[in-house]
């Protein structure tokens, strides 16, 4: 029987990881991820999980320990935030290029400088091209559910790639919500034990891992890696449906649409700010604007086709980002979304919005302002360049 618990996002992540029975966990504490490590070490001390725990001296070692354990054949889990992710970049890139199905929660936190510790996905989005799969979630139930799904996705023979489940620091990590926790038996039936078949350091079957490799062969590795990413597109949709059958919840797979079927323009969001966007969409609709909402979930692989279909035939769209793509001067997912539209051959005004940096609130007023700008663009009066929401509408 599932149980109902009030828990914050970090406990939801730790609880999900525990239900997936990892063999080895290694993690180093960093705000706002720290409680994940505390919960997991407590679960181990209480005998709730049988995982081997390594309380490492840095994030570099956290990723290195789980990489080593995964190379030997373990199911592994870790979690980090911002500067910790930056410190583990070297083994992070390598975990994906070794095709190791590690699952790591990223509790999104802004990158310094200036010194900061509040929420924002700049950390994970900056490394979106390091070969991992990345899924961004909106609330604590979605954290728990998607983390369980992540192991199935990572370990699938057609994918074999590490997965990040990303959620906003503080907004989710430290906020308590009602969460339904599935029972162990149901999780076990959804997630069988991990048996590596592609790579394993084992004296019973010696292999040399990563000899110096020429460019022709490396090209083959890269090609197959991208094919694995593309197969994940279909699998995320399939697993979302299977999850619904077993657990009674689903999230739309690659993207989630809200009041979008009959919309004439679309607001695109990601992560915890989506809740606010839903309210803003309802209010704008009450005022006669037929705006729809698209929540991005998978950023790697990017669901170009789903996004293009969701935006096809609309008059304009705007993307609210809690991140900066330096050099473009827009948010990061704006660039991703616009690229998807170019590939679809469907062209319309596209508006970049940046809000909520450094953990600032993205409010209903901000979202309504963004919607107003989108409709102004339809009328031929688009704002020039990126709209910085927290500069245009400041808190009182």
């Amino acid at each position: 029987m599932p149980r109902i618990e009030v828990m914050n996002g970090n406990k939801a992540a730790a609880t999900a990881a525990a239900l997936c029975r990892p063999d080895v966990i290694a993690a180093y504490p960093i705000t706002p991820q720290t409680p994940v490590v505390e919960y997991l070490t407590q679960f181990a001390a209480d005998g709730i999980i049988q995982s081997s725990m390594s309380e490492v001296e840095s994030e570099l070692s956290a990723m290195s320990v789980v990489t080593g354990a995964s190379l030997a054949g373990s199911r592994t889990f870790t979690a980090t935030s911002s500067q910790g992710l930056a410190l583990m970049y070297e083994p992070y890139f390598r975990a994906s290029t070794l095709r190791l199905p590690i699952v790591m929660a990223i509790i999104n936190r802004e990158m310094i400088s200036p010194q900061t510790l509040w929420g924002g996905p700049q950390d994970a989005l900056t490394v979106r091209d390091a070969g991992w799969l990345q899924i961004y979630v909106e609330d604590n139930q979605e954290i728990l559910d998607t983390l369980i799904l992540a192991f199935r996705l990572a370990e699938d023979k057609g994918v074999l790639l590490p997965v990040n489940i990303c959620y906003d620091g503080f907004y989710l990590s430290h906020m308590a919500e009602r969460v339904e926790v599935p029972d162990q038996e149901t999780v076990d039936s959804f997630l069988p034990p991990y048996v590596p078949t592609h790579i394993k350091l084992d004296p019973k079957r010696p292999m040399a891992v990563d000899p110096l490799t020429n460019g022709n062969l490396l090209t083959e590795y890269r090609l197959r890696h991208t094919q694995g990413q593309q197969r994940a597109l279909g699998l995320i949709e399939e697993l979302d449906k299977e999850f619904l059958e077993r657990f009674g919840r689903c999230y739309g797979g690659l993207i989630e649409e809200y009041r979008n079927e009959d919309s004439d323009a679309v607001l695109v969001t990601m992560g915890s700010m989506t809740g606010v966007a839903r309210v803003a969409v309802d209010q704008a609709r009450a005022q006669g604007r037929k705006i729809g909402l698209v929540k991005l979930r998978a950023i790697r692989p990017f669901p170009a086709q789903r996004v293009a279909e969701a935006l096809a035939g609309k008059k304009a769209f705007g993307v609210v980002d809690r991140s900066v793509s330096f050099g473009w001067g827009t948010g990061i997912t704006f660039q991703e979304t616009r690229s998807a539209m170019y590939a679809s051959g469907s062209f319309m005004p596209a508006l970049p919005f940046i809000g909520g940096l450094g953990g600032e609130d993205v409010t209903i007023e901000h979202m309504l302002h963004a919607i107003g700008c989108i409709y102004a663009a339809i009328d031929g009066a688009a704002p020039a360049g990126t709209v910085w929401l927290n500069k245009e509408i400041t808190a009182e």
């Binding site: 063999d23 080895v24 290694a26 995982s51 081997s52 390594s54 309380e55 490492v56 001296e57 840095s58 570099l60 070692s61 290195s64 320990v65 789980v66 990489t67 080593g68 354990a69 995964s70 190379l71 030997a72 054949g73 373990s74 592994t76 070297e90 083994p91 390598r94 350091l201 084992d202 004296p203 079957r205 010696p206 292999m207 040399a208 891992v209 990563d210 000899p211 110096l212 490799t213 020429n214 062969l217």
Partner: protein, 301 residues
Amino acid sequence: MNVFEKLASSEEMVSPGISACVGCNVELTLRTVMRVLGPNTILAIPPGCMGGVGVVGWDKKSGCKNPVFFPLLDNVASMLAGIKLHYEHRGEHVNVVAFAGDGATVDAGMQCLSGAAERGDKILYICYDNEGYMNTGYQRSGSTTKGAWTSTTPVSPQGKGGKRQNKKDFPMIMAMHDIPYMATCNPAFIPDMVGKVEKAMAVDNGLAFLYIYNPCLTGWGIPSDKSIEVSRMAVDCSFAPLYEVENGRYTLSYTPKKPLRVQEYVSRIKKFSHLGQEEIEALQKLTDTKWQQLQKLCEMD
């Protein structure tokens, strides 16, 4: 069966034809320790000479019969810790071993190694110290001896230059982590080395560290037929003494019967050829101080 018979009767784990320099005593060291460690061993070879000569393999051909891989330069001990946790979790015994140069050990990988030592990860970490980044053209490391020429501590035509700082005393740094076993070795003392590898393999309550002093023929300027002779001189002048630390107890493995002066050792090595008498005396003084400290530690109960 003496140690040489034992070595001769155990399996050669490293392929013939790896491309080490002629007379390389690191290759000799690797072949020796792998004969002792045997097939039930997972081997990490980080970037460095033994990686460069193809022990992890080259273009689909393996240089070693063991499961072998390249860790990153800076995460050797942590990757091994993860591998060991996997096998411990399953209740299986496997030797999990690093064979790493000084760059991967005393410089880039020191944090991970220190962390693994403190946590008591049950791995065997072997450092071959050839005093620099030898396979990429002899750049300095934190383990390079003071005064030595390297490609990044060059010497002017007037004989000025060389490394300005002291070498890290890395075996002592590791001993001070209070690990169960730390020992120093030298390729001129194979029976001693074999005994220490066997002891390190038997450690089951934490990290074992072996430090091997390997003079580099190509990078230091030593004729290839003098490989073992010069290696022995490093021990006989007490510059690189042989000792072990078992659960905090220090023991000298070898006391030179006819101690040499440091002058005699460095005079055989081209990278020291620009050094004046004053600089060599300073090296002698440091060597004497450290030798006395070591003897005092060995006298303690």
